[in-house]
Symmetry: C2
Subunit: 270 residues, 2 copies
């Protein structure tokens, strides 16, 4: 039986293993996570030349607060070490050197994939956001403007849309700060509703990297910081270690013809 | 200055107040929350006759697991007290008797709103789900099938899409079980990834209603319960009490011409 768990590592293009051969993947060196490897990750993530559409660029739907703060941070990319992250339609585009030895994409009848936070294509209707990352400070700023298709209570963004935006910002930040792979926990306290069409500024900090996990915090607030929309803490796992990918993993098919995907299994304390 | 906070209560069609007049909204009687009021809420929520499209009905994209479990629960609606909840494209459609005295919908240039979990219109591409609710047991089952536009890691649902699905199931359950209005906290532990196109079964329980809050838990797992995808606990506030809608609330405009919406403010312990 093919240990499909390892397909995930291969799909993610960072750990290559032979099918059927359980391997102990290398544990991350925290020093390297906070050292030059971040620069390498940023270089790999922020392609200088690409034909892929970057969705994290201003468009006519952006509100004035979003536009002016975007310009402010764009200036900081020239003077203060901030980096504007590109945002492609799929994580498949973000991960370079991707190979699919077991041909999930080929075997599947699905050809059109989208990362959840770019699922709505009409400008202004869904997620509008851009993430800036500071490699040496290990922090990110996400400018987020929810559209009318992200509604919960009438006129306001659904709490789940903010949760997903926080998760996505954690995910990208953790990857660049220390090769964080998957979210294992999110603890969110909602404090105020975000009006549809307005700006929420998410400030994300890497608190620590310890025991193969990236510990992160986030506060989402109005531009003037007078209104806190939510606070969140979260953890991302760093690599597919043996604990996450045990030799005893069982292949699961979930009863769908094209859903024989791998289930990387982990068991964080709950 | 109009205290726009109260617009929310009016928009939600359940508390009518005069503009500019701070009011102490009635505190909920826990007995009524677990008594006949649930039946009244269910009747109001599940319209017998409507021209609105119900998105919680089987379509060609549903996987076999989803279809068969849907049929099983549909049988239980006849014999075991379960109720299938309809799912319209907007919460505006769900809330009956809606009046907008300050004309938010008229003033806005947005005419097309969607609840976040119905934001993608092509069948199978985004959220496919149906919620069954049991009034006397105060529990829900949500059958959730993520599509390829909900992707995170290649081939798997974004954690944020599951967080939003849990939040939405909490929200509808809390509303029907005790008039819960807004989510104040979500604590999620992710354990396994959900393959795109497969079924996740979310079991939601109301643990208690106390101090104006509905305390809830959720486990998301495969149909055979052998794979736990995530566990979650959450709280919903019951009504817009003075704590949630303080007299000192400040109107905020967020720098966008049509975003002068109310910001119901609360401050749960973080």
């Amino acid at each position: 039986m093919i240990r499909r768990c390892f397909q995930v590592a291969v799909r993610l293009g960072r750990h290559r293993v032979l099918p059927g051969v359980p391997q102990v993947l290398p544990r991350l060196n925290p020093t390297s996570a906070f050292g030059s490897s971040t620069d390498a990750l940023v270089s790999r993530f922020c392609l200088k030349k690409t034909d892929l559409k970057d969705y994290a660029l201003p468009n006519a739907s952006w509100c004035p607060d979003m536009l002016t703060l975007y310009q402010e941070f764009l200036e900081k990319t020239k003077t203060d070490g901030w980096i504007k992250l590109p945002s492609f339609k799929s994580n498949r585009d973000h991960i370079q050197g991707l190979t699919l030895p077991f041909g999930l994409a080929v075997a599947s009848d699905i050809s059109d994939w989208r990362i959840f936070t770019r699922c709505i294509q009409v400008e202004g209707q869904g997620y509008e956001y851009v993430i800036f990352f500071h490699p040496s400070k290990k922090k990110s700023i996400c400018l987020f403007q929810p559209g009318p298709y992200l509604e919960g209570a009438p006129g306001f963004a659904h709490g789940g849309s903010l949760a997903a935006m926080m998760d996505e910002t954690f995910s990208k930040t953790a990857y660049l700060a220390g090769e964080g792979l998957f979210t294992v926990s999110l603890n969110i306290r909602f404090k105020n509703l975000i009006p549809v069409g307005s700006l929420a500024v998410l400030k994300v900090d890497v608190e620590k990297i310890e025991d193969q996990k990236v510990y992160m915090s986030c506060i989402a607030q109005s531009r003037d910081q007078q209104t806190v929309y939510a606070k969140c803490s979260g953890k991302e796992v760093l690599s597919l270690s043996t604990r996450l990918c045990p030799a005893t993993i069982t292949l699961r098919t979930n009863g769908r013809k094209n859903a024989e995907d791998a289930l990387p299994s982990w068991d964080p304390a709950f």
